[in-house]
Symmetry: C2
Subunit: 427 residues, 2 copies
Amino acid sequence: MINSNALPESALPKGVRDFLPLKAAKVEYLQQQLQQVMAAWGFRPVITPQLEFFDQLEKGLGGDLHARAFRFDDRQSGRLLAFPPDITPQIARIAATRMRELPLPLRLSYSGKVLRHTEEQAGKNREIFQVGVELIGLGQPEADAEMIAMAIECLQGSGAKDFTLDIGQVEFFRGVMDGLSLSSDLARRVAGAIGRKDSTELRALLDEAGVDEAAREEVLALPRLFGGREVLERAAKLVKNQRSQRALDNLTQVLALLDRHGIAEYVTFDLGELRGLDYHTGITFQGFLPGYGQAVCSGGRYDGLMANYGNPAPATGFTFDLLNLLFALDRALEDQVKPRTDLLVYACEGAVLRAQQLTPRLRAAGFSAARDMLDRSIDEALAYARLMNYRRLLVVPVGEAALRLVNPSSENEDSLTLEELLQRKEL
Amino acid sequence: MINSNALPESALPKGVRDFLPLKAAKVEYLQQQLQQVMAAWGFRPVITPQLEFFDQLEKGLGGDLHARAFRFDDRQSGRLLAFPPDITPQIARIAATRMRELPLPLRLSYSGKVLRHTEEQAGKNREIFQVGVELIGLGQPEADAEMIAMAIECLQGSGAKDFTLDIGQVEFFRGVMDGLSLSSDLARRVAGAIGRKDSTELRALLDEAGVDEAAREEVLALPRLFGGREVLERAAKLVKNQRSQRALDNLTQVLALLDRHGIAEYVTFDLGELRGLDYHTGITFQGFLPGYGQAVCSGGRYDGLMANYGNPAPATGFTFDLLNLLFALDRALEDQVKPRTDLLVYACEGAVLRAQQLTPRLRAAGFSAARDMLDRSIDEALAYARLMNYRRLLVVPVGEAALRLVNPSSENEDSLTLEELLQRKEL
């Protein structure tokens, strides 16, 4: 089918899209690949609603997402409703309430769309396709390693190559920040400078705050603490505070587990990375593909979230941004994933009845098949079959005459009986 | 996994639900079964957005749905946005604009959620899961028959038995109403009485309107024109107007095609049935399962809708209400669809490393497997495995000792090597 995704989309609000068959087939393919890995690891699907009471939802939303939820008054209840901007708080609510009688751990997966307000003219997606998992009830490093290993297997399963999984640890950062005793405003500016790896501004802010020399050294090192596994050793020599040291121990244990699975090669570290959501409490990670700037997946530990719904439990998880993954892999999927139909069944004059009768038998034999009902010539039907990605045009003549199986691209053709066609495994 | 769907849902707005693993697995199963039939008939997926400009959307919404859309002002554009209450208008928009360069017919499928306001305390779903198809560009009876045959195959594929597909024809009804020359208010009341099959009220209304005897006879027959194929003959004797006669010809042709496929046994007719959406222009149909009052699927011809988006074309389609289908089939699916995991991998003391190393090999061999990371006894792990629907607990002892494969239900067990386990096709 022609790629008409290039046509203008002015009939749609910004930040949402139509997915025509070529793209939609890729979306579905990627979703299936991810779900297959998740099921293989023992995760089971839950489906979350697209309407929630905002007061329930906001218990689990970080500051950023809080402001980005689509909200409105409920005609029925008079309460404030929202369309969820993130699925993790919904899973936390469900696990903490409706599944609280079940023994831990819970391994849950989900696939759905969320909506988020974006800044004007930001050009960002407002509709986000999330496919993810939550592992609830386990605080062990092995659980963190499970999430990272699964994310890597998901990336492999979706056909990605040369990807990296960039690992951070919010506790490491918080340990360093603890030593500074900054006002919350200054802390935010310091965090911003670290996130941008802007050492000049960082120095100016530390001067302004008048932090002591030891703490200063730790903070100034943060923007440079990224790279391979040697980062963990460098960091260990730098930090003196216990909170950061515990975070490093945790990272070292997880790395050892990834080594054991032979997947540590995909991993990089960034201890100055603060991209995690507000609810994260330990290891965080984001997956990147070469040549694509935005993360295709992100995850991490959130040990405080379940308590917000009345049932404290450690938890970790990750989510794929399916559209980012699609855009990063779009070309690589081009030949692999195409919406195709095996047969277009064309009736010659007088052969409509025969064509109608044999079409269901083709489907029963495992072929996908559509009837060409328009009153047109074989050449017109062939042109249609070519444009619409049918594998073959099946020309059905009157009586008992042999069927003609025409390849719309090459126009090569076979002549065969219905029985011969039904026996075929390949066209 | 325990069915906790019975727990209270007071944390959620009315008309939406959480789907825990047992139900979610059934939803996904039904969705896959339907999509498989749709692909076999040559239909290709499109994915529609969950935000639209309301002025675009309303071009394709019937009066009922128009009022039931969730609407709000767009912060970005200042225009009125809506969450689509129906996917068909979205497909019509896409087909008429972004796919207008493509040759007809288009065979498109979709799967998504829509949101609809419901009356207070109606207890109806506000979130509706739709899986459907649109066949655009064909006005032939064979296209109507294709929709009905596909809907029947979808019902068979989802495991439904003893279902009926109830067929109407809005043109038949309109032909009869043409002869009455009623005011629009009276016409609506007459249609209501016919829909309720209330002959007494219908007579009173016709008296009030003073319609002539011939027209009166046609209208009074409508509430009784339901049942098997004999309805078409009864109707043919009754109506004199050409519009209704053409509608009957159309029904007769479609029935002949259904006979040809051997599926006419599933079909009933109701010519007084007016449940179609406002945009319908010909044959309409609804699928019902025994013991479940609401339609699980509905569809019909809508030859006027594409023109509303600037590109006139005949069209027909149908949609499954996935949750109605789920509730109607819930019990029948109980044993068939269960979220299960093959193996829970338990490490005896000192065997954690061995357990961690063999788990990925189990997955590579095709088993689904989760690691039991908690520090607990074999009995505790067995109880967990039983409650959470694992097929087997795999007990991993230290060193080279044989693995134990324990059935959590029967507590029967096998002793075997890893190599033996990896060779197994069935547990």
